[in-house]
Symmetry: C2
Subunit: 643 residues, 2 copies
């Protein structure tokens, strides 16, 4: 009762299934839901490139920023072109998983599924950790509670998603648009001021720089390996491109076209901001620092200091979009899980729509997994980032390899163009995947390399189980079941009460070939009393008394039924258990729960049917017989009075 009230307050009233169509998103809200993750990565991807290079190159690292960003943007163009093909080819959604299942077979598709699930989970963890870091950098008193704040934020986002996808779009679009606007202003105004000579490169902070530079690594300088690692960090920016292709069905009709337009917008904004930031950093030359992000440093420089309103908006919307970018994963993970579950590789409950028509179970699973990661890595972005890109680029590669096979199989109009685009995409992303695995394996990339195969094994196990159940349950419509030969046992406790008489009457109505009552005694001397009591009722049913010296009810009853089953040529053994049902839960505590245990055990015994014969006892004073067997008319009147 209390639980359902709380649920109403937190989630809102339930929505009927017919309301589903109305929940689809217009493009401007869809951009807020599905692109936040991709766009938000601009807030930390540039910094992550420097984190790799500065220890070896010092301030010279800034010179590599524009070239590396250009490679990342080129990769982005290739991947987005590739994915646009997919949006039209698979308008029902499913992205990498669907595409590889249709074209590459079961195992590649399961690898894609596992990769995406790992990646969505990491998206949530990394975004939330980065968002929390932004908040705690600004609000000093909150420092030290990063993990708690991270878990709280995840809970908040999960709740927003449990309320329903439309409300989520409303909630998340404003910060995304604010962030895009302020970043555009930062880059545009910043470059304008540098080119007009109004703004000069920032002075080098040698003290901060000393924290990052290491004389030993400086000797080696910038190796190819280091450049690969730096590029791998920058490639995180592509995370979130997959999201739209999985979520096509959340778009208004025509879904494919609207999704493709939204994807192009996303790529344009993401690429523009990412490249623009690299150019601006190359001009302003901020020093990598432990106390302030380079974005914050450039914001102060361009907007005129830490108290400028524009700087405050920049920092606040950065913190907001970082946190909320996790929402992309919350919009998409449940959809992907539902698709995988529909194919029988994940528990079916992931396809259930909740009261508010959202895939509640998927939302809860993601919140739990991401929360676990945040707790395990202490909400640290730099510890989580190396785990990040493996799943992402595995999924990209499989998806685009699948598209190549798709074009080859179907030979649709203009398939030559498509196959080239997707082949280039597949080759590029596979190369990047190799780069990431080689350059970041020992830093944490090994974790998804272990987890993804384990997930695939789990998927297969679940599928095998469902297949077994499927075969076991299958039956042809021409099957005829002959009349049943019943063997019935009525369980009798210490006393013969109305519930027992009703159970016997019920048992007789089955016209069993064998009907015995059975009673378990813990003290041998009770057996005679119990038999004598039974005689008094003249029930024409024999009573078997079982001695249980170890005071256990379940074991002896199961043993008794086993013997019965061996002796009699019966079809079904039915055990009737008279149960006492009281009004309040605390009253139930006053009665032995042994019948419950027995019911559980009998449920697992093959070929046994359990009948619960309840005896309802009402509140003090009102005594009412349970089933309308003898005094039916009075009972009904009583119940009406009570209502």
């Amino acid at each position: 009762m209390t639980f359902s009230v709380l649920k109403r307050v937190l989630l809102g009233r339930p929505l009927p299934s017919q309301a589903f169509e109305q929940q689809r998103l217009p493009k401007r809200l869809a951009l807020g839901v599905f692109s936040t993750d991709a766009i938000a990565s601009t807030a930390f991807a540039t910094q992550e490139i420097l984190v790799v290079l500065v220890p070896a190159a010092g301030m010279a690292a800034l010179g590599y920023l524009v070239p590396i960003s250009l490679v990342v943007v080129a990769l982005l163009v290739i991947v987005v072109l590739s994915y646009t093909q997919t949006l039209y080819a698979y308008p029902n959604g499913g992205g990498s998983y669907i595409v590889s299942r249709k074209n590459l077979g079961t195992y590649p598709s399961l690898v894609a599924a596992a990769s995406l699930m790992v990646d969505y989970t990491l998206t949530v963890s990394v975004s939330v950790a980065a968002g929390v870091a932004a908040i705690t950098s600004a609000v000093a008193p909150l420092r030290g509670n990063q993990t708690l704040l991270g878990v709280g934020l995840i809970a908040f986002i999960a709740l927003a998603n449990l309320r329903g996808v439309r409300e989520s779009g409303r909630l998340f679009a404003p910060p995304t648009y604010t962030y895009i606007a302020i970043m555009t202003l930062l880059i545009g105004y910043g470059l304008f001021r540098t080119f007009t000579g109004d703004l000069h490169p920032l002075p080098v902070d040698h003290k901060e720089l000393a924290h990052f530079t290491n004389p030993e690594t400086m000797i080696g300088g910038v190796t190819l390996f280091l450049l690969m690692r730096a590029f791998s960090s920058g490639a995180i920016a592509l995370s979130g491109v997959e999201a739209i292709s999985n979520g096509i069905q959340a778009f208004r009709k025509p879904e494919s076209r609207n999704a493709a337009i939204t994807l192009t917008w996303t790529a344009f904004i993401l690429g523009g901001l990412f490249f623009g930031l690299a150019v601006l950093a190359d001009q302003l030359r901020p020093t990598l620092s432990e106390s302030q992000t380079i974005l914050s440093q450039m914001g102060r420089a361009v907007f005129g200091g830490g108290s400028s309103p524009l700087y405050i908006i920049l920092q606040a919307s950065t913190a907001a979009i970082l946190t909320l970018s996790a929402n992309t994963a919350f919009a998409d993970f449940p959809r992907l899980s539902a698709i995988i579950a529909r194919d029988g590789y994940m528990p079916r409950q992931l396809t259930n729509r909740g009261d508010r028509l959202v895939l509640s179970n998927g939302i809860l699973v993601l919140a739990f997994a991401a929360g676990l990661l945040v707790v395990a890595f202490g909400a640290s972005v730099s510890s989580l980032v190396p785990l990040f890109a493996v799943g992402l680029f595995t999924a990209f590669t499989l998806s685009q390899a699948g598209m190549v096979v798709h074009h080859w199989r179907l030979r649709e109009p203009r398939w030559h163009v498509g196959i080239v685009i997707n082949a280039v995409g597949a080759a590029a992303t596979m190369l990047v995947l190799a780069v990431i695995l080689i350059s970041k394996f020992t830093e944490g990339a090994w974790i998804p390399t272990v987890v993804i195969p384990l997930l695939v094994v789990l998927f297969k196990g679940i599928h095998r189980h469902y297949a077994t159940v499927e075969r076991a349950l299958h039956v042809d419509p021409d099957v005829v079941i002959p009349p049943i030969k019943h063997t019935v046992v009525v369980l009798v406790g210490e006393r013969v009460h109305l519930g027992v008489l009703q159970a016997i009457a019920y048992a007789k109505s089955l016209h069993p070939q064998f009907l015995h009552a059975v009673s378990v005694v813990y003290e041998p001397e009770d057996a005679d009393n119990r038999r004598a009591q039974w005689e008094r009722f003249h029930l024409e049913v024999p009573l078997d008394v079982i001695d249980s010296p170890y005071r256990d009810l379940t074991g002896p009853v199961i043993e008794y039924v086993d013997k019965l089953d061996e002796r009699w040529d019966s079809d079904v053994v039915t055990v009737i258990i008279p149960e006492l049902v009281v009004r309040r839960w605390w009253q139930q505590l006053l009665h032995n729960q042994s019948a419950l245990w027995l019911k559980g055990r009998l449920l697992f015994r093959e070929g046994t049917v359990v009948i619960s014969m309840p005896t309802h006892v009402l509140d003090p004073g009102e005594v009412k017989h349970p089933m309308p067997i003898r005094r039916r008319r009075r009972r009904r009147r009583n119940r009406r009075d009570q209502q």
Copy 2:
């Protein structure tokens, strides 16, 4: 499985009910079990008297020790004489509760029961807290973990008791006897040395004394009120006298005589040690200190310093007996609870004997309650002591007042003597109770004053509930139940499988006047598919499809059954639920548990019988049909192969 193995290792193999007689205790072990509490109180009762008096009187407080101890010993003699009467009058045990129920009526007996239960719980908490204090005073690294140690000790004692009473006696007797021996030696050798002039009064430690004395309270000096409080603290020594009268049945035959002898021994040892300690303290004049108990100070003085082996034995056995004295309550609380439960004032489960023939539930309840107290009061003896004596002396008073009525009613031989003894006892303990309530009310005695009436209310509520159930279940042997008019509903899920066909066949075997199948759909468009599927099976049973727009199974089914019940003149509504049963618990997670919820809800619906029709699915590869309906012979062979 794992749980039962753990249970075996911790508790030992189960014992049959016939083994009960062998579990009775010889006197020397009974003394260890039932007298530890009473004798152990000598380790702190003397100190508690000084804690009250020193702040007002300084070293002069020592002068009051012998007179107050004499009064306590006199009270002990009165109470023990009184209780010996009870042991013979009520050889089946039950002490204060039994005696007041037989002679004073229900309410006084419930007050006695509640008082005793509160008191046993406090016995455990205080003894364990004092034992932990003794341990942590000796082993410095353990300090600061008092609460954890207390809870651990309670768990240890509970476990020992769950293994069975005989083993407990073996475990607990040696420390008790060691403690008695070393204390006797301390007092005897100490007094010998002082009287021979070999040992002189200890020097006053003014620094320690300053911690306790308070110039303001010193002005008032020792008032009558203070003497009352000091006496109340000393009276704790009588705790545990009740224990034997409750536990008579654990003694070997003749129980009454053996119990009386053990009680006399206990009183003799307790009184001797308590008075002896007071005399020794009066001679040695130890200074009350925060770092060392007066017992420890006297031990050092008599046995010759902190490294003397006898001093170490004294301290170790003190710590041991204090901790283990909690065992008295663990031996007795469950017995008392079982007696009260048998009368219907406590949950019946408290009368169940566990695998090892002990009253496991009572042991667990006591361990939980005492653990809670230890946690709540941070394992501090001085905070717990004021709560202690109220319940004890309430129980004493009621018991002896009951004995007065007993003698008056029965007029047995020599009843005049008995009535005088018990009347003196009742008057004395009632006076002490008044003294305790007046002098310690604000210090904590108010807590039992509130808890005891609340427990009485709880007892009455439980009794009323059992009475209601009793009336509801009662039935005369001449009742005849006419044949039942059955209304049967078979719940059908998404697909028609073998389980459904079996459920229909089972339903038909009830020869119902009304038989429908019912299926719930969440999307309106599924309804036609479901009906079409049903048609294919030609089952001659109509299918009702219910639309559930909010995707809830339970609500619509209950509503459907309600309507059915209103429309049809049926006796019983039977709902048959086909259930999928898989081999392993994790496989069960892969299937919706909605049937379980529905079963729970239907159990609480009056006049409804629920039949679980299980479909068993075996491990991958092996597919086996659940019930031996069609391919019976093959199924049986399969099962035999599998075993």
